[in-house]
Structure formats: C-alpha cells, structure tokens
C-alpha cells in the first residue's frame, strides 16, 4: 500500500528580490516552503552563489586558496572578470576589506573607483558590496559607492542598526538593495527590517544577513536562527521576515585555523586543499539546508560541488 506523505501548507512565502539590472540580473527568493521541501511548495529561484573578491590583495590566504587566482589577485577588476569568465560566476561579492580603518584604511573615493572598475569588468553581473562593519567608515565608503553606481541595483551591506539611517538613505536614493544585518537573533533581524521599512527602504529591496558562523565556529547558531526565520516567514506570515537570506560565509570558513594549517604544522590533518574545500562545502550545504538564498563562496572547486548539489536538490521531485 502506498504511503501518503502528509503535506504542510504554508501561509506565507519569501519575497522574490531581483538583484542587479539588465539581462544578467538575478532573482532570488520566492520560495513557498521550507528549504528544498519541493513536495510541499515551490522554489521558483534556486539558491545562488556569489563569488568572493577582495578590494586588495589578500595577505593571509593559504596557498591553495590563492592558487586559482594567482594571475589576477593583484587587481580586483581582473579577479572579478576571471570569476565571471572562467568560473561562470552569476554574482560577485566584493569585500571591502582594504577600507578597514584598523587595517589599510583605503579612502572612500579610492574604494569607489575600484568598485567602478570591477563593475566595468564584469559586464552586468550583479555585484554585492560588503563593508567592514565599522559604522563610521562604512557610512563613508558605502554612501559614496551608492552614489557613484546610481541605478545599478548593487546589494549593499552590512547595514546594521548603528548605521542604517545613513547608509539606508543612500541605498534608497541611488536605487540599490539593502543587506539588513543583525547578530544571530530573530528578533533583532525583524527589528532591523522594521527600522528599514520606517526609513523608506522598499520591501523589494531587502536581503537578510542573519550573520554567518563557519563550520566549527558557531554554524549551529546561524543554522537555528535561519530555520526560525524561515518558519516565522512561512508559518507565522511574519511579513517583516519574508526576505531572502544571504550568507557571507567564505571569509568565516577560510579564516579558521583548520582551513589554513599546513601538513608540516600538523601531518595528521591530511591534505590541506581537500580539507579546506570540504569545510567550505559542508558549511555551504548546512546554510542551504537552513534556507540560504545567496552563498558567498571562495574556492572554484567548492563552488562546483555546491552547484551540483543545488541542481540535484532542485531536480528532486
């Protein structure tokens, strides 16, 4: 006798949000069920992977992370171009690490120039700009970037409670999308979105960054808050939480000791490249299961695996 699997009906759904403009614009969200529960609902837009680039040459990346980008890593525009052309990136996430006031402190105008060059190089591929979470500097840098890229519908983040008024204002004025960031708490995530709404950010222009921990570094917290966000959005119809989620995971994964350690330092840890890619893949997989709509990833090989997994999951049923 056939077993009928009970189906749950969800009252709410995640809003579809379009990032970028033109032919290559990407729409994320729109799901009407829990992640990949395609037997209960629809997922019109698969989760997307944004490939990560930095605004400066990274100094602390392990050899195996640098290797695929060796020839372009000195130039963010070339780097971005390679991601798109060689690795088929559908989105680029540019980390403004160099603007960190505690590090290189690259001035805002210089940072904005780099962004413009990158935009030029990627020919319409949607771009995510990720600041340093230093409220003062981000306000300066992100505001200028918004202004210089008017109408390109970049995704600008992290927009936090402490700087949302300044950055949010520019995001509205220059027609970009807002990455609403809060520290691993469903209530704080909702409060941020209410505040953005009050400020005038349209509901078509919000992504949620629930704050991401890497594997072994708090991913369980990220996972459970993402699950709660999904449930609140779908089952409680909490309209201030019905936005797609983005996980800026690459830098969390790759800064861990386990992703960097060499065989000389600890032979028991095995092949470093395989290890780091595995960690990145497992992190990505968990976040997908938690409900992520955009993953920011680093290594082309991990990205390849995760793309396959996504297409398998989307093909099931």
């Amino acid at each position: 006798m056939a077993v009928e699997i009970p189906k749950r009906m969800y009252k709410g759904n995640i809003r579809p949000i379009t990032l970028g403009v033109g032919d290559k614009a990407v729409t994320v969200g729109g799901e009407t069920s829990l992640p990949f529960y395609l037997f209960e609902g629809e997922r019109p837009n698969p989760p997307r992977i944004a490939m990560e680039i930095w605004d400066m040459e990274p100094e602390d990346w392990p050899e195996h992370a640098l290797e695929p980008f060796k020839d372009v890593i000195h130039d963010p525009a070339l780097w971005a171009k390679k991601c798109v052309e060689d690795y088929g990136a559908e989105m680029i996430c540019m980390q403004m690490i160099g603007t960190d006031p505690n590090d290189k402190d690259i001035p805002a105008d210089q940072a904005a120039d780099t962004v413009l060059k990158v935009l030029d190089a990627i020919d319409g591929t949607p771009l995510i700009i990720w600041g340093t979470a230093s409220h003062e500097k981000d306000t300066e840098v992100l505001k200028l970037i918004c202004e210089k890229t008017h109408g390109k519908n970049l995704s600008i983040g992290p927009v936090e409670e402490g700087d949302h008024k300044a950055i949010g204002g520019s995001i509205i004025a220059y027609e970009h999308t807002c990455v609403s960031s809060s520290p691993i708490d469903i209530n704080l995530a909702k409060q941020m979105n209410i505040l953005l709404g009050t400020l005038g950010v349209s509901d078509e222009k919000i992504l949620i960054d629930p704050t991401t921990g890497g594997l072994g570094y708090g991913i369980e917290y990220s996972y459970s808050v993402m699950e709660r966000l999904m449930l609140a959005a779908l089952t409680q119809e909490d309209e201030r939480l019905q936005f797609p989620m983005i996980n800026n995971m690459a830098k969390e994964v790759w800064k861990s000791k386990e992703a960097k350690i060499t065989p000389e330092e600890d032979p028991l840890m095995g092949d470093p490249k395989k290890r780091a890619i595995t960690i990145e893949c497992v992190t990505a997989l968990l976040l997908l299961l938690g409900g992520s709509d955009i993953l920011v990833m680093r290594h082309p090989e991990s990205i390849k695996y995760i793309r396959e997994i996504i297409s398998d999951f989307m093909a099931a049923n």
Binding site: E161, K165, D185, I186, N187, L188, K190, Q191, I194, L195, T198
Partner: protein
C-alpha cells in the same frame, strides 16, 4: 461638577474639575500649548486669552497689565470659575494639526478609603492597640500588686484574660500609676501566645496611637504614618506636603543610601560580604529610615512616643540587610534566604529610633528573589480573595510579577534596573516636587509642554515623566522604534550632546537646576531594557500557565515611579500590554498598601502568611525563552507588532498625519 472649557481655534471641548488649571485641561484634551517651566508660572509661554467666561486671576508677573486686562492668562496658573472659551494665541500653537488625541488618564492612585474595595472581609482590629484604664487606688483592703490591679481591670473592663507584660513596662509602672492618679493607658499587642502589655502611659492617650509603615526598595525607601486609632493614613490638613494640593498623605521617601555601594541586590550582597560591609549597609539604611520617620512625624505633628507599631516590607535582600543578617546564600546556588518568616523585632534592636516597646513586623517572604514587598502587594491588592485571573506587576528595580487568583498564584522576578525610579537616567529623579511627570510634544514644532509635580520649576524627570516622554518622542517621530533619534529634524531640541543624541526638555534658563534638562539616547536605552525585562517576565510567566495577556481579567500595576502613570503612554512604549483599559488598575506603592492593611488588621497577618505559602515562584533565568522574549521586547512597542494592534494603529496614524 466641573466647568466646560472650549479651546479655540482647535474647537475642542472638555470638562475641567474646578481645581484644575487650563494647562492641565489642555494636556488631557490633547491641545498643545507651549509650556516649559512645568506649570510654575515662570516661563510665560503658556499665555492664552480668555474670550468668554470667568477665571481666577493669579499673580502673573510675566504678563503686562494691559494683557491681563484684555483677558490674557497663563494657562498653568489659571482656573475657570465658569464655563469658558480659551483662545490659544499664535505663539502657542501652529495650526489645527497640533491637536492631539485625547488621552485617557489612568486609574487614580488608590486613596486609603479604596482599601475596602480591594480587600474585603476584614475588620479593623489592629495588632497593636491602646486601652484606657481608671484603676481604683491601692488600699489596705484592696492591696493586690500594681500589675495584678491592671490585669484585673483589663479583664473586668475589656475581657482580656491571661495577659503577659513586658518587663520594661513593669519597671516604670509603680511611680507612673501614682503620678497619673491611677488613670493610665496601656498599649497591648496580640502575640501568638495571647495579649501582651508592652507600654503604659499616663492619662488617656488611646487616640494617639500611630503606626509607621516602610517599604525598603532597592532604589527608594518609602514611609507612611498611619493613625491606628482611626485606621487611616494620616492626613495633614492644610499641610502642603509635596507642593501639590492633591497629595496630602503623610508620605516621605528617599533614595536608599545603599545605592552608593551597588545599584542592584547582587552588588549589595557582594559588598555586604566585605569586612564591615554588612554593618555599613545596615547602618546607612537604618539612618535613612530614621530620617524618614522624623520627617513623617514632623509633617503630621505627631510625637515620637505615640508611635507604637511598625511594619516593614522589602525584598528579601533588603530585609536581611536591614536586620544585619548575612545575605550571602541568597546569591549562591541553590539561592535560599535565611528565613521566610521572621519574628517581630524590637525597633531599638534594629537601631530604629522609636520607643523601646515598639516592635517591627516584617512581611513574610517567598524566596530569595521574591520578598515581603510583593507579598504585601498581593495582600493589599486583594488578589488572594478573588476569582478573577489577575496579573500583578510591581514595577521597580526588581520587576516582580504575580499571576493568579484566590486558588493559585505564580510569581517571578526580573531585574529591570532603576530607570523607573529615575536611576541610570541622566536627569532622572524620584517622583517629588519639581519632577517632570507629564509631557506633550508638538508634532510640528517639536516644542514640549511639560508639567511637574508640585507645578514647580523642573529639576529632572521621574519615572512617569519618562514613560510619557518616550511615548511622545516615538509618536511624534523624533525617535524610531529602536529608541534612536532621527537626525534630520528641523528643531534645536534634538542635538548631539556629550552622551550622544538627546532631546532638550527644558532650557537652562527655564528650570531650577540652571542647566539644560535633556533625555539622552542612553536614557531611552535604559528605559527600553527595563520595560523589556518586565514585559518579557510577564510573558514567560503567562506562558508557564499556558495563558496570554488576553486571558487576564485584571492587571494591577504597582510602582513608586510617580503619582500616576499614563496608561496609553505605558502601552505605547510596550511596558504594559495592549489590552482594554478597564482591566487596568494602578495602586501606587503596592508594598505600602499591604503594610497599611497589616497595621490595621491582625487577621491579615495570617493571610499574609498564607499568601507567602501559596505562591509558586519560577526562576526566569531557568527559562531559555526569557532571553528570547527579552530581545523581542526591546523595541517600541515590541518586535511583535501583532501583540500591540491598537497601539500600532495609533503610531501609524500619527505618522501619517
């Protein structure tokens, strides 16, 4: 019966009680009139013109003689004598959109007469009472001892059997009886073992029998003087206790001086464990209670020797510190107090400066973090007698909450911090003369309209003023729902001060302290934390009983943050739930309420013990959901807007206007 007041050009009408000023009327009618001196008649900003009807003509040095002649008055000082029509001049109002919603005032503070409504089934029968005796002098024939003579008279006159006597009374008895020509008054106490004679005085002093009740709060100490003979809170006729005519009880309060050694109970306990710490904490609180007693006696013009009873309610830590009992184990797992039921303690042994016959009764306690103050509140508010499902909230430094009715009770306490008592607020103060207690802000000009306790020049902001203030800031869009100031408003009232953004309530030249009185973002943060903790505590407690705010029949609010609390403002900031107005009741200081009852009726002593025994205390820190509820409540009014449907409607309507 009051007078009709019509405000022009707004065209709003309202009824004003005869002793209320035009400014008070405007405040409750939602008509904006600029006012910045708190109603003391010194700023001259609330100038209005009486175009019809008669009013009082107070001295108004701020106005020119011709202005007075033409009917101009200061709204804060003028009361109507007939129905009147008031015109608000252009300086005071901008356009009709200044008109705000009328505010439903919260239920009044309970007066002593209301006690009977809250708690029924008890008779006036104080534990400590006096009886007048006229004894036959000792003769050769009737030569029984002095004491036996008194016993005989007590039995013959009043039917008291098996009376015991305190040795101190016996010691002074012989001479006193003869000097007083055998006419004396004895003070009797009912103990577990029967009546005890504790004092003897010459002549008839039966009518002079007073009790002092004290609430030792973590932040504030309150005291009241009661007249046990007439069983009422001692009134001070003609004595303007607090500058305000309506405030005529003999009540005195002061900050708990232990604050200097730590703001919360935990830091006090830590201090008490240092060498000499416990003695120091005891000494300072006893000194402040003595000061309050002296003040009360002076206010009411009562002689110290006629005080014969004292009741103290306080949280467990405060009670133990007052008595010099080591509080260490309150703070250490498994968190047990020394005793929930304490025997009466002789006042002089605790360092209290009252007659040596006076005993102090401590309210029984429930647990380490649920003390006699809350038992007292439950007793005083009558929850223990009713079928109605009641939530009792005592809003203080420790927010204590009790849910239940006559059959069952659950309780919890949550650390709210001292914000509601003015602590941790830059210009915070207790609810005394000069404290800003009511505020309205014009949504057009962002100018405030403030009223102070005692209608004196402003000195600071008390808890009720703070609630009002934050609600107004939110409604007028000066702050957002996370309590942060908007930076782009065209007003000099919002500015960046040394502690970040702030709103100037009163300029230096207009108030009593000579510097700008402001409310800072940090103050608002502290208030949001405090209200968040209390709301979250209530939510978790209700969840435990599988109930919601909507299941409540009654919600009793207690707290010493002001004379009254604006119900709507308290809902707007999310301190109180969005449930119908008629379910709320505000009892002021609930702890004193119960302490008064205990002074008046010995039967209620047993009830207090029963209440303490029947309460089931839950420890909020054991509930992971508490943290979640807390974060959700740290928003104005709340992250879950569906829990505040009516309030959200108001906020959204104001925004749209």
């Amino acid at each position: 019966m009051g007078y009709k007041v019509r405000f022009e050009p707004a065209g709003r009408e309202m009824e004003l009680a005869p002793d209320e000023t035009i400014l008070q009327g405007a405040m409750s009618a939602g008509v904006h009139i600029n006012a910045s001196c708190g109603g003391s008649g010194t700023c001259g900003k609330c100038k209005v013109k009486i175009i019809k009807g008669e009013t009082t003509v107070p001295p108004m040095p701020m106005l020119q003689a011709w202005e007075v002649k033409e009917g101009y008055r200061l709204a804060c000082m003028t009361k109507p004598l007939t129905d009147i029509v008031v015109e608000i001049p252009v300086e005071s109002q901008i356009d009709s959109s200044v008109l705000r919603r009328e505010r439903a005032g919260f239920a009044k503070v309970l007066s002593p007469q209301d006690i009977h409504q809250l708690v029924g089934g008890w008779t006036i029968d104080p534990t400590v009472f006096k009886r007048y005796l006229e004894l036959p002098p000792a003769t050769k024939e009737d030569n029984m001892s002095d004491l036996a003579r008194i016993y005989r008279a007590l039995k013959q006159e009043y039917g008291f059997d098996r009376v015991s006597t305190d040795f101190r009374a016996i010691k002074k008895m012989s001479k006193l009886l003869r000097d007083a020509d055998w006419k004396v008054t004895v003070t009797m106490v009912l103990t577990r073992r029967g009546h005890k004679l504790v004092n003897i005085e010459p002549g008839d002093t039966v009518e002079k029998n007073y009790s002092i009740v004290v609430d030792i709060g973590t932040t504030t100490v309150f005291g009241q003087l009661l007249n046990l003979h007439e069983c009422q809170v001692f009134g001070c006729p003609g004595f303007d206790v607090d500058g305000a005519e309506r405030y005529t009880l003999a009540v005195a309060s002061d900050y708990n001086p232990q604050i200097s050694y730590g703001e919360d109970v935990i830091s006090r306990i830590v201090y008490a464990l240092k060498p000499g710490g416990l003695e120091r904490l005891q000494e300072v609180v006893v000194r402040s209670i003595n000061k309050i007693i002296t003040e009360l006696l002076k206010m009411a013009n009562v002689e110290r020797k006629y005080v014969s009873h004292m009741v103290i309610a306080g949280n467990t830590t405060m009670t133990q510190l007052f008595l010099g009992m080591n509080p260490r184990y309150i703070r250490e797992d498994p968190y047990v107090p020394t005793a929930n039921f304490l025997p009466p303690v002789r006042a002089i042994h605790a360092g209290i400066e009252l007659g040596d016959h006076v005993h102090i009764y401590m309210f029984p306690m429930v647990a380490s973090y649920l003390g006699g103050d809350i038992v007292s509140g439950v007793l005083g508010s009558g929850i223990f007698q009713r079928d109605d499902l009641t939530l009792y909230m005592d809003i203080g430094t420790n927010g204590e909450i009790v849910l239940g009715n006559k059959d069952w009770m659950m309780s919890a306490s949550c650390s709210a911090g001292p914000a509601f008592e003015g602590g941790g607020i830059k210009f915070g103060m207790r609810a005394t003369r000069g404290a800003i207690e009511q505020v309205r802000i014009s949504p057009d000009t962002y100018e405030p309209m403030i009223m102070t306790i005692g209608r004196a020049r402003a000195k600071g902001i008390c808890g009720s003023g703070l609630i009002y203030m934050v609600a107004e800031l939110l409604e007028t869009g000066i702050i957002d729902q996370s309590g942060k100031f908007m930076h782009t408003l065209s007003t000099n009232r919002v500015r960046k001060g040394e502690d970040g953004y702030e709103y100037v309530l009163s300029w230096a030249g207009e108030n009593a302290i000579g510097q700008d009185i402001t409310l800072t973002e940090i103050d608002i943060d502290n208030l949001i934390r405090a209200k968040g903790a209390i709301y979250a505590g209530c939510k978790v407690l209700l969840n435990q009983a599988d109930m919601t705010f909507n299941d409540l029949d009654r919600l009793i609010v207690a707290g010493g943050f002001g004379h009254y609390i604006d119900l709507e403002a308290a809902k707007i900031i999310g301190l109180l739930p969005d449930i119908p107005e008629e379910k709320f009741m505000f009892v002021g200081n609930g702890s004193l309420l119960g302490a008064r009852l205990l002074s008046f009726s010995k039967d209620l002593l047993k009830e207090a013990e029963r209440i303490a025994n029947m309460m089931t205390n839950i420890e909020l820190s054991n509930f992971p959901s508490f943290m979640d509820e807390y974060v959700a409540a740290m928003f104005l009014p709340h992250t879950d807007e569906t829990a505040f449907p009516n309030i959200m409607k108001i906020i959204k309507a104001e925004k749209a206007a």
